[in-house]
C-alpha cells in the first residue's frame, strides 16, 4: 500500500511492522496515508515514536472528526498545546503563536485534509465508499473502546515535540 519511499522508511523505523499483523487493513492504510500527508504538508523530518493500542483515552481538549460509512471511525489530534501550536504554524504557514481558535482551525483543517485524502484513496482502490462529518472541537475527549475494538494512537515526533493522532475504528454492527 505504501507508494512512497520516505513513508516506507519512516514506518520501517518504528514498531509498525511488529503491530501490522494485528491491525485491520483500514487502520494500516490510515497510518500509511497519515505519514505520507504529514511528510507532504507539514514536515518530512519526522519519526514515529510509537504506535500503541489502548482501551481508553482521555484528554483535556478534543479536536476530532468522524469518518462515516462502513467501516466508520473516530479520528483526533492531540498533544501538548505548545507543540500543537508549532504543528499548526508549520502546516498553515501563518503566524500562530497561541493555542487559540485559529490554531484549532488549522489543526482541524489538517485532519480534514488528511481524512479526505484517506477516503479518496480507499475509493480509488475500490475498497470502501466513505464520508466525513464536519470536524469538532470540544473541551475534552473521554473514549472507551467497545469489546473487540481498540483505539490506535500514533505518536509522531517532530523537531518541536510530539503530536498524537488517534484512530478508533468502530466495530461493524451485526
Amino acid at each position: 500500500m505504501v507508494n512512497d519511499a520516505l513513508t516506507a522508511n519512516i514506518l520501517n523505523n518504528s514498531n509498525y511492522n511488529e503491530l501490522s499483523d494485528s491491525m485491520t487493513s483500514f487502520v494500516k492504510t490510515y497510518i500509511e496515508k497519515l505519514i505520507e500527508d504529514i511528510s507532504l504538508y507539514v514536515d518530512a523530518s519526522i519519526l514515529i515514536e510509537k504506535i500503541e493500542t489502548v482501551d481508553k483515552y482521555k484528554a483535556g481538549q478534543e479536536l476530532s472528526q468522524d469518518i462515516t460509512g462502513i467501516p466508520s471511525a473516530y479520528s483526533a489530534i492531540d498533544g501538548d498545546p505548545d507543540v500543537l501550536v508549532k504543528f499548526a504554524e508549520q502546516y498553515a504557514k501563518l503566524g500562530i503563536d497561541s493555542f487559540d481558535d485559529l490554531c484549532k482551525e488549522a489543526l482541524l483543517d489538517f485532519l480534514n485534509l488528511h481524512n479526505g485524502l484517506f477516503i479518496v484513496l480507499l475509493s480509488k482502490l475500490n475498497l470502501y465508499e466513505l464520508s466525513l462529518n464536519a470536524p469538532k472541537k470540544n473541551d475534552s475527549i473521554d473514549l472507551t473502546s467497545e469489546i473487540n475494538a481498540k483505539i490506535t494512537i500514533l505518536s509522531v515526533k517532530f523537531s518541536f515535540g510530539t503530536v498524537k493522532f488517534l484512530l478508533y475504528e468502530l466495530p461493524v454492527p451485526d
Binding site: N112, V120, S131
Partner: protein, 122 residues
Amino acid sequence: MSDIKMLVCDDSILARKSMTTMLNSFGYDKIIEVANGEDAVNKYKSERPDIVFLDIVMPVKDGITATKEIIEFDPNATIVVISSVGTQTHLREVIKAGAKDFIQKPVDADLLRQVLKHNIPQ
C-alpha cells in the same frame, strides 16, 4: 480588477483565506466569504454571485445540499465544489446536484485558474 463577483463557502477559515488570496492574485477582488451551506444559499439569493465555490463537508448544511438548493433557485448558477472528499460517490453526487466542476483539496493554483477560465466569461 475584475467585476466578477464570487462566493467562497468553507467552514475552514484557513481554506477561505487561502482561496481568497489565490483569487485576489488572479485579479478578482469582489469575494464574499461564508462558513456553511445555509449561509451560501442565502447569500447566493441576495448577492447573485457569478460563481460559487463550495466545500462539501460543513456544519449546518453540507455543500451538496447547498448546491441542489442554489440550482433549484437558479438553474444557471455556476458552482464549483472544492473538497478533500473527492470519492467516486461524492463526485457523482456533486455532478448530479448540478455543480459545473470539482477541485480536489489541497487547491492547486494552476488548476483553479483553468477552472475559472472554463467557467466564467473572460
